[in-house]
């Protein structure tokens, strides 16, 4: 459901911005699993420009696809060519195998360029998809973290620092450029057809768990994330929002629902094992990510529920089972 187009007055000091509902929406990372769904939903009543280096084979006819790199100058041409009403930034690379330099350059430099053009062309709306993983699993985490909790995800797991940096850049942009309505969404572990660490972990034929640990986990269905993204596009909405799915549950109940055999492994052994497997390229899970099945990293989504009107629509059982049924 896309928000209804409104004709509210453009923000002060932004004469170049067109009235709401007429400009195009740029979706970066549009060829990912989430991006495609966002594009499909938005193109019905908006003009959508899909930006992604990858191919978009079954894109809707009226969506223009720009195979460009965010770091290249061509991005600016997009802003010059037509009035842009909103940018939905999903183009964060999460490939744990890519080199960290490439990662950093793609994620941070690319996003910084995007922000530069956003301020130059007084973009009315910017929606950034971050993640609740930026808070990081810690032994002393509050059970439900609010949006002002520190972003400690990088303390032990350096690969997530890019994402934290993107989140921080978006935050500072939010405060420095009041004329742009910036929204940062931090959803919990996304399940569905997506290929992220959490979903891939649950898809393992035999799931290793840590002996004596069974933290509470929050999961969300990808459709609920897409729903939250569209809610964030509504005029007047700005800020940082945690997005949680159905009620939390212990990891063991998730695995039980999926009917997966599990192998409990002592933490020290598991850590050493994952490290070795990682160095032999036999696993795609870096060892520090084990903390996700050891400590809690859950969020309080009260703000999103109150201000965005967000509520998860997919029930818990469907959300969990979606890792199996919606193989891409």
């Amino acid at each position: 459901m896309a928000p209804p187009p409104t004709r509210s007055a453009p923000p002060k000091g932004a004469e170049a911005t067109p009235p709401r509902g007429t400009g195009a929406i740029i979706v970066t990372g549009a060829c990912g699993r989430l991006g495609r769904q966002v594009v499909r939903l938005l193109h019905r009543d908006r003009r959508v420009i899909a930006v992604d280096r990858r191919a978009f084979p079954d894109r809707p006819k009226d969506v223009s696809h720009e195979q460009i790199d965010l770091r290249r100058k061509k991005l600016k041409d997009l802003f010059r060519a037509q009035p842009i009403e909103a940018v939905v930034h999903l183009g964060v690379m999460h490939n744990p195998r890519a080199s960290s330099a490439e990662h950093h350059s793609w994620n941070v430099t690319g996003f910084a360029k995007l922000l530069e053009y956003a301020s130059q062309f007084s973009l009315p709306k910017l929606v950034v998809l971050s993640s609740a993983n930026v808070y990081g699993p810690q032994a002393d985490n509050a059970q439900f973290l609010t949006e002002d909790a520190p972003l400690l995800g990088g303390a032990r797991f350096s690969e997530i620092r890019d994402l934290i940096e993107v989140d921080m850049l978006a935050q500072s942009f939010l405060w420095k450029h009041p004329s742009t309505e910036t929204v940062v969404l931090r959803p919990v572990h996304i399940l569905g057809g997506v290929k992220n660490a959490a979903a891939n972990f649950l898809r393992l034929p035999t799931v290793p768990t840590l002996m004596g640990f069974d933290p509470m986990i929050q999961v969300i269905h990808e459709a609920d994330v897409v729903h939250a993204l569209t809610l964030a596009l509504a005029p007047g909405v700005r800020g940082i929002y945690n997005i949680a799915g159905p009620e939390p549950l212990p990891l063991s109940r998730i695995l039980k629902t999926l009917g997966r055999p599990t192998v409990p492994v002592p933490y020290t052994l598991g850590k050493a094992l994952v490290k070795r497997l990682w160095s032999l390229r036999l696993t795609s899970f870096p060892a520090p990510e084990l903390d996700h099945i050891r400590f809690v990293c859950m969020v309080d989504d009260a703000r999103a529920r109150a201000e965005l009107g967000y509520a998860p629509r997919v029930d818990l059982d469907t959300t969990i089972r979606s890792v199996d049924v919606e193989q891409w």
Binding site: N141, F144, M211, E247
Partner: protein
Amino acid sequence: MRLGGGLRAAAPFARRLLGATVGGVDAWMTDKLGEEFNARLARVPVKLTESGVDPFGLDPQWTKWALAVVAALHRHYFRSEVFGTENVPEGRLLLVANHSGQLPIDGALLGASMFMDVEPPRFTRAMVEKWTQTLPFVSLLFARVGQVVGVPENAKRLLENGEALLAFPEGAKGISKTFDQRYQLEDFGLGFMRLALETDTPIVPVAIIGGEEQYVSVGNFERLASLLKMPSFPILPQLLLPFGALPLPSRYRIYYGEPMRFTGDPDDDDAVIEEKVAAVRATIQAMLHRGLKARKSVFF
């Protein structure tokens, strides 16, 4: 592979054995703790999610087992006497108690008492040290029986959910008192008062008598304690006796005081908060004195 096959063949037997054990223990529980144990369990106000645990990970099944063990100690080993249960209000409350006895048995017995003696029966939530979360099994057990990580956000959320929260404002200093210091309250921390003011929660002062005599500590090996990064290293002569590791079966007496309500700014200066804390501390100290005077024997 053969090992795996053997395990698989053994699994149904193990399951049947487990089932029989569970059934047997259930019967024993009703036998020892009375029919009302299960009936009380059904009346505990607890908000569960779809998956059968509460948002903090409390599982009523696990809690039932833990409570059964502690309730047996409460009734048959320490033979606790409980006074003033009518003072415990419904809804959110903060239990503030003296801490004693080297091992936190006082907290467990207070939890059992809140379930066995107070109407309606309650699950008591307590805050645990952060480092316990890094221990396998311990962290799991604590979470399943309703103990949460000791950060202010969790305390606030629990109280807002209408739970009964237990605080020992003396902290580790209180539990590791030597025998000559028994029933003399240490300084109280201020956090519990700020929490009560912020969430407008009644404070129920609790005096627990009997804990100081369970392990008689004649001294504290401070240098060894700091070396082992433990809060204290008590010297317990009773450990030399046979079965000396068990706490002595001193009789516990638990006094619930009248709820105290405070108003004010939770972010006030320490001096202002200290005054309110002193009132709670004085109440508990007076309850301890009265209780000790009324006590005829440590063990009966």
